[in-house]
């Protein structure tokens, strides 16, 4: 079984503000309280090609279970600060955030697009606008409050990812609590960081360091979010594409709805994981520590001694 990891969120670096506009906050709160089972298609147009997935979702309260419809032995249960991936009977990886629910300043306004019918059910459509640009369309089932469709947009109204329910069952499913990982060592708060406190509208909300010396920082703009990891060693990203951006060379992988960038500085391996649309990537990466070539000897040294 893989190493199990626990995280404890301890502090907000940026003082927490009011999260969302009242209407969006209300909509999303209602969505999180919904109970249902559904199948969802995720289809994303990325710079590296199409990324699609078909998943089964079961939600009870704020617990969300996601299983692959292709391989039933893979399952993720997340919610309330926990995330557990299992394959078959084996818990592959687990993370836990005990506290700290810092939210970003409200960057979005919500425009009501009107009533629609989705899967034969009464629903309401909304447009999320960030700094004058449409960034997402949401369709919310009126009875359950579930977000049955979410389309995220790049600047200029290009579709980045579509998430659509293709079936919806409103009978409350049963979700078994994932087994807590044993022997977890709580991480340590770090109060200072070389990372920017704000970048491209994203606020640095929490940051921690774990027992392996891995630093974790979480950014959000209120809807999209990403995490930045700084590790004493390199980050493994097999199968990644090598891309050259203005700030340097990066390894990159798109999955359905998520992007991962990996690079190295002289002192750290760095990774960025998030769901932000591609047009935001360069601006965010430009404000992060830039890639630096360590040279052959440094690579050998780190490979041998960490």
């Amino acid at each position: 079984m893989r190493r199990l990891i626990a995280l404890v969120a301890l502090l907000t670096v940026v003082p927490g503000g009011v999260a969302f506009g009242a209407e969006l906050d209300e909509l999303l709160s209602e969505s999180q309280a919904a109970s249902y089972s559904a199948e969802q298609i995720i289809s994303c147009s990325t710079p590296d090609g199409e990324r699609d997935a078909l998943v089964r979702i079961e939600q009870v309260g704020d617990e969300l279970r996601v299983t692959s419809s292709v391989s039933d032995d893979v399952e993720v249960i997340s919610g309330s600060g926990e995330w557990t991936l299992t394959r078959g009977e084996e818990q592959v990886v687990h993370a836990n955030v005990d506290s700290g629910e810092a939210t970003a300043e409200d960057l979005y306004t919500v425009e009501e697009l009107g009533a629609v019918e989705y899967l034969g059910r009464a629903s309401m459509a909304y447009l999320l606008i960030r700094e004058g640009e449409p960034r997402a369309e949401l369709v919310i089932d009126e009875e359950t409050g579930a977000v049955v469709e979410a389309v995220t947009l790049t600047i200029g109204n290009e579709v980045y990812c579509e998430r659509r329910f293709v079936s919806l069952d409103t009978d409350p499913p049963e979700i078994t609590e994932p087994t807590a990982a044993a022997g977890e060592t709580p991480p340590t708060l770090i109060e200072t960081s070389t990372l920017p406190e704000e970048v491209g509208g994203f606020e640095l909300l929490d940051q921690y360091v774990d027992e392996d010396g891995v630093r974790f920082a979480y950014y959000s703009d209120g809807f999209f979010s990403f995490a930045v990891f700084e590790t004493p060693t390199a980050v493994a990203l097999p199968g990644a594409e090598l891309v050259e951006l203005a700030s340097g060379p990066y390894s990159r992988i798109f999955t359905a709805g998520q992007v991962t960038y990996v690079w190295e500085t002289l002192d750290y391996g760095v990774a960025l994981v998030g769901d932000l649309p591609p047009d935001m990537h360069e601006a965010v990466l430009a404000e992060m520590p830039h890639p630096q070539d360590r040279g052959l000897f440094r690579r050998w040294w780190r490979a041998l001694f960490g």
Binding site: R2, R3, I5, A9, L28, S31, Q32, Q40, I42, R51, D52, A53, V55, I57, Q59, L64, V66, S68, V74, V76, S78, W83, T84, L85, V93, A95, E101, T103, A136, A146, V147, A150, R163, F165, D206, D212, G213, V214, F216, Y218, F223, S225, F226, A227, F229, T231, T233, A234, A236, T255, G257, Q258, G269, A271, V273, G274, D275, W300, A303, L304
Partner: protein, 135 residues
């Protein structure tokens, strides 16, 4: 002169100078022990020389092409070889040795997903897909 056995052997091999040979002959004339030793050496040598010469059967010793071995020594060669070996060991170790504590994409997804689940926007609109499955 005491009993010079080495000189007797050299005398039989014809390796002594004239003056040394004269001195040894004078000594042998007055020393029974050395005279006896000289006689014994002469008998052994005669016996060895009388042994028949045997021809080895063909095939016992394989024929080999002559190899020219240079007598010059390259002083820097071994240092270069040693450096190459050390470099090879380091390179192989760097490839084989796993990096301690290296993050995997699953671990990063896990930590990101855990924190994102506390966001107000968490839900089907931000589903974190199990990596590399169903895609």
């Amino acid at each position: 002169m005491s009993h010079p056995s080495e000189l007797i052997s050299a005398y039989l091999d014809g390796e002594l100078h004239d003056s040394e040979s004269s001195q040894l002959v004078d000594h042998l004339a007055g020393c029974g022990r050395c005279s006896a030793e000289l006689g014994e050496m002469q008998r052994v040598r005669s016996a060895v020389r009388s042994l028949p010469v045997l021809e080895l059967p063909v095939g016992i010793v394989p024929e080999a092409d002559p190899v020219v071995v240079p007598l010059r020594r390259h002083k820097g060669m071994w240092a270069g070889v040693a450096a190459a070996v050390v470099a090879a060991v380091i390179a192989i170790a760097a490839i084989v040795t796993p990096e301690p504590g290296s993050l995997t994409i699953e671990e990063m997804n896990s930590r990101f997903g855990a924190r994102a689940s506390l966001d107000p926007a968490f839900g089907p609109a931000k589903v974190v897909v199990p990596p590399l499955v169903g895609e």
